[in-house]
């Protein structure tokens, strides 16, 4: 195989678009090794900053850059760091959220595979800024095939004096521990992740207190996404004004979108914030596959409301996607074609949320169960008109009533599809079958001995 597992080929930037920032690392020969990464200038920014700048200056430049968390919520990163109390006698912790589990999102894995040292460099800067001397990487158990690569990156960095005592001769100490999850979507939620890291069932905590004040082991903790931390060295090196030269005023910089579904070139694309959705589909992902027509887009990972083809001019920044009625989320864009039954697709996603609900809050635990039950009834031709009302009311009752957003993530797509595709629910109720369904058709093809794909 010419590229790492789950990764894509060389980065090709469409004409007229700026070259990417993070994916620039992919053009460095052997960037996944310490030698390759350092030969490309890696670690120089972190060492220089720790030697010559104060921690507050690092926080300030990240604050001024307007960088927002890339894990889904989009909270300003510098502000998050700034919430860590400076006078706390307790140790402070930095935790990397590498529990990438949002359906449709697969960017952090490619970043980890191809540029693990950029993450460590970002961790050095973040830890220095918040005054942490022990950081953790929480990686999802399904990424265990990356264990040898990540272990080696950490061991090499340690051997080179870049992790551990007196990092790069700066006098700053940073210990890094890699912690493996074991299969639980909920651990992507930062407080559930912290409980999991403490050796417990991964269940969200009541907030406040927020982790910056009381996080891991009840000490001040910052949890940042992989993509967020990999962006930090570039900001520290080039400055806040440079970063703000990308994207929009409130959503500066670039964002990696993971594109999947019935497109010609699925993959990860680093785009400038504010790019129209249409350009992501056509210029980057090569448009819809021949013979298929776009029906709906899930722009930010499976948890967000769906968009329709008439909304393709929506710009991909936090504000514009929200104005269109959805969320930028983690940037997992799933393109659905006309052959997809929306009830079937919702049933698939709702099954996911029911399976992944941690069970702590009643509205989510019971609500996701009922949503799946009712959707299955409709999908399988046993629905009655009342069921559609039940879907709506259960969804509305879940919204905002749990400690974390998992229940909301199950409810929001359902509410948006009920509004945008009512005719498909109607058809299930009257004809007792799907209006369209290519998924089943593809199963039939394989039973006839054809390849297991469309």
């Amino acid at each position: 195989m010419s590229h790492p597992l789950g990764c894509y080929g060389p980065v090709v930037t469409p004409k007229g678009r700026k070259e990417p920032i993070l994916f620039g690392d992919f053009a460095i020969a052997s960037a996944e090794t310490l030698e390759g990464f350092r030969a490309g200038g890696g670690y120089a920014t972190a060492i220089d900053a720790i030697k010559n700048r104060k921690p507050e200056e690092i926080t300030e430049v990240v604050k001024a850059s307007g960088l927002r968390g890339r894990g889904g919520a989009g909270f300003p990163t510098g502000m998050k760091w700034g919430f860590v109390p400076k006078d706390s006698p307790k140790p402070k912790y930095l935790v990397v959220n590498a529990d990438e589990s949002e359906p449709g999102t697969f960017k952090d894995r490619e970043l980890l595979s191809r540029s693990p040292h950029r993450l460590i460099e970002g961790m050095l800067l973040a830890a220095y800024a918040i005054g942490s001397h022990h950081a953790f990487i929480y990686a999802r158990g399904e990424f265990l095939f990356l264990a040898s690569l990540l272990d080696r990156a950490l061991a090499d960095a340690r051997a080179a004096g870049l992790v551990g005592k007196n990092v790069g001769g700066t006098g700053f100490d940073l210990e890094i521990t890699l912690h493996w999850g074991a299969g639980a979507y909920i651990c992507g939620e930062e407080t559930a992740l912290l409980d999991s890291l403490e050796g417990k069932r991964g269940q969200p905590r009541t907030k406040p207190p927020f982790p910056a004040v009381e996080g891991l082991y009840r000490c001040p903790t910052v949890v940042n996404n992989v993509e967020t931390l990999q962006t930090v060295p570039f900001i520290v090196k080039n400055g806040a004004a440079w970063f703000k030269g990308w994207g929009t005023e409130k959503s500066p910089g670039t964002k990696i979108f993971s594109v999947s579904g019935l497109v010609n070139r699925p993959g990860n694309y680093e785009i400038e914030m504010g790019l129209p959705l249409r350009a992501l589909l056509d210029d980057y992902a090569g448009g819809m596959r021949p013979g298929t027509k776009l029906k709906a887009v899930i722009p930010g990972g499976s948890s967000v409301p769906w968009l329709t083809p008439d909304q393709l001019d929506t710009k991909l920044d936090f504000e514009s996607v929200a104005a269109a009625g959805s969320l930028l989320g983690s940037g997992g864009a799933i393109f659905l074609d006309e052959g997809v039954c929306v009830v079937d697709a919702l049933l698939n996603l709702t099954h996911f949320y029911r399976h992944e609900s941690c069970g702590k809050c009643t509205p989510c635990r019971e609500g996701t169960h009922w949503l799946e039950t009712v959707l299955a009834k409709i999908e399988h031709g046993q629905g009655v008109p009342e069921d559609v009302r039940t879907l709506k009311t259960v969804s509305e009752q879940i919204l905002g009533r749990s400690l974390c957003a998992l229940g909301d993530a199950a409810a929001m797509p359902i509410l948006s599809v009920l509004e945008k595709f009512p005719q498909e629910f109607e058809h299930h109720l009257t004809a007792k079958r799907c209006l369209v369904n290519r998924r089943r058709a593809s199963v039939e093809r394989v039973r006839a001995g054809e390849p297991a794909t469309v």
Binding site: D108, K200, G359, E366
Partner: protein, 177 residues
């Protein structure tokens, strides 16, 4: 009528008992002590110690969980609560090759159902079962974060991120002894 519920609400799910007490080797006990030392609080070593137990003993039986609890000096019910929460901890024996097919939306759109149907036919088992010779266990799982290369699946810890046709799937299975 059963209790309607979703999620991972059940605490104290019955663990399978083998009836035979098990113990870690001295080397493994040392490895677990080293795990504890990597964290400010030794309780954090529960998950890595469970991973080690699963590797050594094949699955997390009541006895394996008890061995982890003893090695860490943590209460057994607390360790059991963790073991029963995470989907990658096996609570029953699995075959030598654990086949896990991602069923979530993107992979589903690209033929995950068909891949499972093919594997079921080829292996003569249903998803969730193990072949009688103990060679394969087939499992449907949720998103593996390889949505762009679906339908994706893992064989043990190895990810298959390239679309394989039925013949290539068969060749792969034949190569796994």
């Amino acid at each position: 009528m059963g209790v309607a519920t979703g999620g991972r609400a059940i605490i104290g799910l019955e663990l399978v008992t083998t009836g035979k007490p098990i113990e870690f080797s001295d080397a493994d006990r040392q490895a677990i002590a080293d795990m504890r030392a990597r964290y400010p609080d030794g309780r954090s070593a529960v998950m890595p110690a469970l991973w080690l137990a699963q590797k050594r003993f094949g699955f997390l039986s009541k006895e394996a969980v008890a061995a982890v609890a003893r090695a860490l000096d943590e209460p057994e019910p607390e360790v059991a609560a963790v073991a029963t929460f995470y989907s990658m901890y096996n609570l029953a024996p699995v075959g030598r090759h654990l086949l896990q097919v991602c069923m979530t939306l993107s992979c589903s759109l690209l033929g995950a159902d068909a891949l499972v149907a093919h594997l079921e036919k080829k292996l003569g088992i249903s998803a969730g079962q193990t072949t009688s010779d103990g060679r394969f266990t087939l499992r449907k799982v949720e998103c593996l974060a390889s949505c762009g290369t679906g339908p994706c699946w893992q064989v043990n810890e190895n990810l298959f991120d390239e679309t394989l046709d039925a013949a290539a799937v068969d060749r792969l299975l034949d190569s796994l002894k």
